[in-house]
């Protein structure tokens, strides 16, 4: 069960090698979290992540999960929920893709969309149903400011996150009053292995800062969290910039 400050005792991470997810797990383990499930494609990286969290004192288990294989989601996630209540699900998987290549290889672009959007729709609905049955829990969805307005430089990734963001908002409204809390997290540019080699955007942040914002959002039962918070104002302004101007902006 979550305590009065929204801190979970059990956590399921979808996308178990995500740096933001692991930073969040570390923070939560320092508070109340005792049970952590890391769902992801079986890999040495997943096992390393698990043993890293184990060293902090948590009971960590891994479960095979592939965002692209949505037929297998029900079985994989059902196994986790059958073992006991999950207080928080962190939907953290996603790929950035390579915009220049993906524009020329529609197949690769579709994989980005399937991972970030359809995979998340499938996993999100399955988790939401289980959370609703147990009558409590938070579903934290890692969206992105890239989904707020599509940019020339990464609109394939951005459009998939836009879909995910809209899905998560609607899901949150659908689950309002069921005891399940859905929180959409919109980080800006995060320094991580996913963005390694890319030029940092203004207001860039780190996985640790995103993790802190998630913890605060859980305490406040927020529905939307911007990281950093100033991005809310910035994006609100950018949303209203005319297309002709927006496409010329160096962002």
């Amino acid at each position: 069960m979550k305590d009065a400050f929204g801190t979970p005792q059990s956590l399921l991470v979808l996308g178990g090698t995500s740096e933001i997810a692991l930073a969040t797990a570390r923070r939560l383990i320092a508070r109340r979290t005792r049970t952590v499930w890391l769902a992801g494609r079986p890999s040495p990286a997943l096992e390393t992540a698990a043993s890293g969290l184990r060293d902090l004192g948590a009971d960590v288990r891994t479960v095979a999960f592939d965002a692209l294989d949505s037929d297998a989601h029900e079985a994989a996630l059902g196994k986790v929920f059958a073992e006991g209540d999950i207080d928080m699900v962190l939907l953290a998987f996603g790929v950035l893709g390579d915009q220049a290549r993906d524009e020329n290889e529609p197949g690769a672009a579709v994989r980005v969309a399937q991972t970030n959007y359809t995979g998340a729709v499938s996993a999100g609905l399955i988790c939401a149903k289980s959370l609703q049955t147990q009558g409590h829990g938070s579903l934290v969805v890692l969206s992105s400011v890239a989904g707020e307005r599509a940019r020339r430089a990464n609109f394939i990734y951005g459009s998939s996150k836009a879909g995910l963001d809209a899905f998560a908002q609607g899901l949150g409204d659908a689950l309002y009053g069921t005891g399940v809390h859905v929180m959409v997290v919109r980080p800006g540019f995060v320094h991580s292995k996913m963005t390694a080699g890319l030029p940092a955007a203004p207001l860039a942040t780190t996985p640790e800062i995103v993790a802190t914002a998630i913890e605060t959002g859980l305490r406040r039962r927020s529905e939307t969290v911007w990281v950093p918070g100033t991005l809310r104002v910035v994006m609100s302004a950018l949303r209203h910039v005319p297309r002709a101007v927006f496409r010329r902006l160096p962002v």
Binding site: A4, D85, Q132, H136, G177, G179
Partner: protein
């Protein structure tokens, strides 16, 4: 079943969000409101996989009367007072009867409830389940010390009559509703001549002064409590207002007054309810600091024999319905702990930490407990108890309270489960040494775990 009831009696509504009085951590449950014992039996039998828990008037601050995904039995539909023995001073009533109702019924007959907490709006069942205490604990002990027997609906749908002195009684007293659903109870009452209180008020300039005054003269009073200003710092850290008293005897009432003509009238006042929406952060350090300053200054340095209504002396907050809304949508947490006599240094350290942290708390009270109570999970033990409430959205509050828990546990103290919404489960066994017996009895009585709550899940009770 009345048509105006928002619930169906047995199957219940679709899940609705439920919280405790602190309005933190909402979870959804099916609300069922039995109106008869048969409906209560049927409700327990049809709880389903996620079990059920009884709920009274929802005054437990934390998650004790919540059950995510399962059933919550709203017991306020079972609200009959069956028998009053006006000569011997006992009452037999349903568990859903509130202490407010008992006062309305009993005061005109010259009887008062044996123990009342800071609110009249708790049910008899809740009073037993949380084994509540009041300002008279140093004299009279907790509520269940005055319960002669109770009827308990157990997990298999049977109704057992449980007498005091049996293991099941001691597990149920303070057992947070986890042994079953209390249906009725027989409670021993306190005789009174009037419905007024004779109250002595004095100020203490700091914590040491307060503890000295309480230690020296508490035994002279049936009721004793101290309001403490936890925002005061430096030399005035722990400055307090002591209010202590007893039921006023008839000859203390002035002649030819309304009170004298009708000495047993029960007239609680009532103010408008707190609004449904209150902005967050209304109760910050500035406002609470100002309130505390005024509250301390307005109290007389020393006054004796003041006549006060029962509601003013025991239940000042009941005058404002929904007062818990003043903390805004983020809610608040209550923190109440007890440390034994001889652990005064731990108490001083904790008060010092709270004062240094500048927790905006305006409802902080300090009291001395008397002998411990027989309930296995009963909270009171001989020692000092401090209760305070804090807005839940205060940054880093969780970690701070964890540190206080460590201090309390190191001093062999404990925190109060009826108020808890955030204790670290690992500390529970050291705070409640009879926890294993409780778990064993529950395992035997309720092997399928029909009775469970968010509190039970969170702490592994």
């Amino acid at each position: 079943m009345p048509v105006d009831s928002p619930y169906t009696a047995v199957s219940g509504t679709g899940p609705v969000p439920v919280t405790g009085w602190g309005r933190t951590a909402p979870t959804a449950a099916r609300l069922v409101r039995p109106r008869t014992y048969e409906e209560a039996v049927a409700a327990v039998r049809s709880c389903g996989a996620r079990g059920g828990i009884a709920r009274g008037l929802g005054r437990a601050y934390g998650d004790a009367a919540q059950n995510a995904g399962g059933a919550v039995l709203d017991m306020t539909g079972l609200d009959r007072v069956h028998t009053i023995d006006a000569g011997g001073g006992t009452v037999l009533c349903d568990a859903g009867v509130s202490l407010h109702r008992l006062m309305e019924v009993l005061l005109p007959l010259g009887w008062f409830v044996p123990v009342t907490p800071g609110t009249r709006y708790v049910t008899v069942g809740g009073a037993i389940g949380a084994d509540i205490h009041g300002k008279n604990h140093h004299v009279s002990g907790s509520f269940t010390r005055h319960v002669l027997s109770l009827d308990l609906l157990t997990a298999d749908g049977e109704i057992l009559t449980v007498s005091r002195g049996t293991p099941l009684f001691d597990a149920t007293a303070g057992g947070m509703g986890l042994t079953g659903v209390i249906l009725t109870a027989t409670v021993r009452l306190q005789p009174v001549e009037t419905s007024l209180m004779s109250v002595d008020t004095e100020r203490a300039t700091d914590l040491d002064d307060l503890m000295a005054r309480l230690t020296a003269t508490d035994h002279r009073y049936r009721y004793s409590v101290a309001w403490i200003d936890l925002l005061a710092r430096g030399r005035s850290m722990g400055r307090s207002v002591l209010t202590r008293g007893d039921h006023a005897p008839l000859d203390a009432l002035p002649d030819r007054t309304r009170a004298r003509r009708d000495p047993l009238a029960f007239r609680p006042g009532r103010l408008p309810a707190a609004p449904a929406f209150v902005p967050e952060g209304l109760l910050g350090r500035t406002t609470v600091g100002l309130f505390n300053e005024l509250w301390y200054r307005k109290a007389p340095r020393a006054r004796t024999g003041e006549l006060q209504r029962i509601s003013a002396f025991f239940h000042p907050l009941d005058g404002v319905p929904h007062w818990n809304r003043v903390y805004g949508r983020g809610g608040f947490v209550q923190y109440q702990f007890v440390v034994g006599y001889g652990q005064e240094d731990a108490l001083r350290r904790i008060v010092h930490r709270i004062s240094r942290r500048r927790c905006p708390s305006f409802l902080a009270v300090l009291k001395r407990f008397g002998d411990g109570d027989p309930g296995w999970l009963s909270f009171p033990m001989p020692g000092w108890t401090l209760a305070l409430d804090i807005p839940a959205n205060l940054p880093e509050l969780g970690g701070f309270l964890d540190e206080l828990d460590e201090e309390v546990a190191a001093a062999d103290g404990r925190v109060y489960l009826a108020k808890d919404a955030r204790l670290r489960p690992g500390l529970l066994a050291s705070m409640y040494p009879r926890l294993d017996e409780f778990r064993a009895l529950r395992g035997e009585l309720d092997p399928a775990g029909v009775f469970t709550s968010d509190l039970a899940r969170r702490l592994g009770l």
